[in-house]
């Protein structure tokens, strides 16, 4: 085993680990910080907050983003909110409670110490964002307002209308711009990371592609922070932005970073259903809608009546029926699966029969249209723009869609990957959400990692690691750049007949049909065979025009699809090897009598960490055993 998967969890009681660790970590003298350069790839909540904070501390930060400005990173699209254990509503919340909900929500497949720390710093995040001018929703007395999200029985979610992610990202971005003005952050836009440069076993730089000129550029540093988000676009259709991709993380995997639990994917229950082959993305309708919306299907199979014509007694409010204590706020994995079951049984609605209703009739009757409009007005408008249906008059039609990936590069307690000096933050790492993420926790994790964890652990790394001087003229940089060039000319030389988008779409079908909400040994093997064949076809029949000297969007797309195909194979393999059901990973062979996920704690209480061993050999599956000292593993129940 070449991997060192020591999670480096500090000793001592759970609630004291982080304090103790902060005390024990080495620090860099304030006057010496300016001697270090740190690369931060990505400018979402994790990357933006890390860049700003590291620059404030005095480090020189090189910040890279794929869009035309850092403010467009996909964190911006998060709608509903961010959790914090403030207990402002006085409903009995606490750090321990948030920790417990998150561990349980993740179906006991995350690391206790990391999750506890996340809950601890959640309150600092709310304070920090308010002081930066984020206009969170408030009560008339001027105090902050909270609402509820799935998987919790307290109201701990802070929000800014339906644009919480936007407001938090603009907060982090403004902090970044402040440091850009001070010259401590050098900003590089429209750049895509193409490779990681490892020298003497340590991450020392990156190769990026300037998307406009097509040129490759080299950057050297003392540490690299990867904050490049998730890989949900492997499914082709997802709620992710068009530029969200796995390439940066995948190239790190190929340079020795372990990839943990790649198959852990979150399928979000409330999205606008698929309606055509030309479709490029799926749009999420915030989970917050389930505070007031009721989910139902007709009791009669194949019922084609209009929803308003279906009387109360002929409606099945199945979440309320099956999970009376959590009702419509059952967690995402559970809610998605139940929607799929209803549609599989023939209760689905709409033209494709792949949808269920999310109905606000009762809430509007109870609270009035104005109150509902104040809460969800912008979401209702967005729904109407896309579907031409007005949710005030008729229920929304929704169906699950790929939304978030809990899996990602493996990191230890310090957020360091298996490559020293490569730290991975936010959705790009695997650490905090186990097999299912609870709503309003992604924003929390991105900001926790960037503001309150990485700045300390990076200092510790820089202070305790001997770092030789490197320059971009070192052979490792030349070799890495050469490898990217080689791949590019290979892509351009194929001259086949199928476009990158066609390949991507085909991959998406394999992923959704066999590696999606419901998985089986037979289906996963079908996917593996299909994806392997697809990979061969891609490298022999890709159609691509132009060259590297131009803003060649098709070329950029093709390079991403090449990596997605390889990732898809690894995801199927990971899902096949995990012979249990847990959270969003539902294996048909492993379910309880009432179709709930059946874990196998004896054999699978671990993170599966995959090691790349070359293009012609199979990756190796390693394990990090998860130790639960504070929480008793129990069957997760929301009934």
């Amino acid at each position: 085993m070449s991997f060192n998967l020591d999670p480096k969890i500090p000793a001592g009681p759970l609630s004291e680990k982080w304090d103790k660790h902060k005390f024990e970590m080495k620090r860099v003298n304030p006057a010496n910080k300016r001697k270090f350069t740190v690369i931060v790839v990505g400018t979402g909540l994790a990357g933006g907050s890390a860049s700003a904070t590291l620059a404030e501390l005095g480090y020189n930060v090189l910040s890279f983003c794929i869009q035309d400005t850092p403010r467009r990173a996909h964190s911006i699209a998060a709608q509903g909110g961010i959790n914090g254990a403030k207990n402002y509503p006085n409903d009995g919340d606490s750090v321990r409670n948030l920790f417990y909900d998150t561990i349980k929500g993740g179906d006991y497949r995350s690391r206790e110490a990391n999750v506890y720390r996340l809950a601890q710093v959640s309150n600092n995040i709310i304070d920090q964002m308010v002081s930066q001018g984020v206009p969170f929703a408030r009560e008339y007395g001027g105090y902050l307002d909270n609402r509820s999200f799935g998987g919790a029985q307290v109201s701990r979610t802070f929000y800014a209308r339906g644009q919480t992610g936007q407001q938090l990202l603009l907060g982090a971005y403004s902090g970044m711009m402040k440091m850009v003005a001070k010259g401590k952050i050098k900003q590089f836009t429209r750049r895509e990371m193409m490779d990681l440069v490892v020298i003497n076993g340590k991450a020392r730089g990156i190769i990026v592609k300037n998307l406009i000129t097509g040129e490759l550029e080299r950057y050297a540093a003392d540490a690299v922070l990867l904050c490049t988000g998730g890989y949900g676009n492997v499914f082709y259709l997802s709620t992710n932005a068009q530029h969200s991709n796995v390439t940066a993380a995948w190239r790190c995997y190929k340079r020795g970073a372990g990839f943990a639990n790649p198959c852990f994917t979150q399928i979000h229950p409330t999205c606008i259903p698929v309606h055509g082959d030309y479709q490029s993305k799926l749009t999420l309708m915030s989970e917050s809608l389930r505070n007031d919306g009721r989910v139902w299907v007709p009791k009669k199979k194949g019922d084609t009546r209009k929803p308003a014509d279906i009387p109360e007694e002929e409606r099945d409010y199945y979440l309320e029926r099956i999970y009376p204590s959590f009702g419509n706020l059952a967690p995402r994995d559970v809610s998605s699966r139940q929607a799929k079951f209803r549609c599989d049984e023939g209760h689905g609605v709409g033209p494709t029969k792949q949808a269920v209703y999310l109905d606000f009739r009762d809430a509007i009757k109870r609270d009035g249209k104005e109150v509902i409009a104040a809460r969800y007005g912008n979401l209702f408008e967005m729904y109407e723009r896309i579907t031409a249906d007005n949710p005030y008059n008729t229920p929304m039609m929704i169906f699950p869609a790929v939304h978030y990936t809990m899996g990602g590069l493996w990191v230890d307690y310090n957020l360091q990957s298996t490559v020293p000096g490569l730290h991975v933050l936010g959705e790009a790492n695997f650490s905090d959400h186990g097999a299912n993420r609870l709503g309003a926790s992604a924003l929390m994790q991105g900001l926790a990692d960037g503001y309150f964890v990485a700045p300390y652990t990076i200092s510790n790394y820089l202070a305790s690691t001997p770092l030789e001087k490197v320059t971009v003229d070192d052979n490792a940089f030349k070799d890495a750049e050469q490898a990217v060039k080689l791949q590019t000319s290979k892509l351009l030389g194929i001259k086949g007949s199928r476009t990158a988008t066609e390949f991507h779409r085909t991959l998406g079908h394999y992923m959704w049909d066999y590696v999606g909400m419901s998985r089986s040994e037979k289906g996963l093997k079908t996917a593996l065979d299909g994806i392997r064949k697809l990979k061969e076809e891609f490298w022999s029949d890709l159609k691509l025009n132009g060259d590297t000297s131009d803003y060649n969007l098709e070329l950029h797309r093709a390079a991403r699809v090449a990596d997605f195909i390889e990732l898809g194979e690894l995801m199927a393999l990971d899902a096949l090897e995990r012979r249990e059901s847990c959270g969003g990973h539902f294996r048909e062979e492993f379910q309880t009598a009432d179709n709930e996920a059946k874990r196998d704690d004896e054999n699978f209480t671990h993170a599966a960490v995959w090691e790349y061993t070359g293009s012609n050999s199979s990756p190796v599956r390693h394990k990090e055993e998860l130790v639960f000292e504070n929480v008793k593993l129990a069957t997760r129940s929301y009934k």
Binding site: T53, R71, A77, Q166, Y278, M382, I386, D550
Partner: protein
């Protein structure tokens, strides 16, 4: 959701290889356009045809495709984002057009936004204006408890109205003067409304306006085209608030402190 009644559209699209080359409108015909498609998906269909024919695809900016990232742009029939109320280009759906329509598609045009290629422009000037003061200096670790500072709900709501700006630049593209006063005013106003923003308020207004003017944005002459076109419905009242902040600062703020933080 209709899947039939497909349309044919005649497009006139601005093609320009790079910043220095000359551009021109080129005619394209797209068939089988479903009314449920988004505008960008319709261009995806065109680009798919172009790839198959071995031609260069139309470059356009886009990312989230749900109206929040601010990356999509385009002048559609002379209007930024097509001129539909509170709607970005990515949220324009083809049911708003008729079979046989001719649609003219051009990039956002403004002195401060040079063309990169086809419909893609460089909006980096927005970042430069933000770096000149669009923030509150609250370094990580300084913050008091979030509820230590009470903010009346109407004030928080108004600040949120301003903060909704997605930085797309439609205001600049639709202004006859190419002014960035709406997006800048929205930020100045948001932070001026909040108690946290007070300490830096004078410096912010002065530095941002100064930087804005040096980047090639024009001045505001109250045409209000920006408000009419803003996909987030941001009101020009925020420009008025910025002007008050600017005037107040011009009288009271000491010049020697001015350079720090400027772009």
């Amino acid at each position: 959701m209709a899947t039939t009644n497909n349309m044919t559209l005649n497009l006139k699209i601005w093609r320009q290889k790079n910043q220095t080359s000359e551009g021109k409108l080129v005619d394209y015909r797209v068939e089988n356009v479903s009314p449920d498609m988004s505008f960008l998906e319709m261009i995806d269909v065109l680009n798919d045809q172009l790839v198959r024919k071995g031609e260069d695809t139309v470059a356009f900016d886009h990312d989230c495709r749900e109206g929040i990232c601010g990356m999509c742009s385009m002048m559609i029939n002379g209007k930024a984002h097509g001129g539909f109320k509170n709607t970005t280009t990515c949220q324009v759906h083809m049911r708003l057009y008729k079979d046989g329509d001719t649609v003219v598609i051009e990039p956002f045009r403004a002195k401060a936004f040079p063309i990169v290629k086809d419909l893609t422009v460089d909006r980096g000037a927005i970042d430069k204006v933000m770096a000149a003061g669009g923030f509150i200096t609250a370094n990580t670790g300084n913050a008091p408890d979030a509820n230590a500072m009470l903010i009346p709900k109407p004030v928080a709501d108004e600040a949120m109205d301003a903060a909704a700006c997605i930085g797309c630049g439609a205001c600049v593209a639709s202004c006859p003067n190419g002014s960035g006063m709406l997006f800048m005013g929205a930020k100045v106003s948001q932070l001026a409304l909040l108690p946290q923003g007070q300490p830096e308020s004078p410096k912010r207004a002065l530095n941002m306006v100064y930087t804005h003017d040096t980047l090639g944005f024009g001045n505001c002459t109250t045409h209000a085209e920006c408000e009419a076109t803003c996909p987030k419905g941001i009101s020009i009242e925020h420009i008025a608030r910025m002007n008050r902040e600017y005037l107040k600062a011009a009288f009271t703020y000491h010049e020697k402190n001015r350079s720090e933080g400027a772009g």
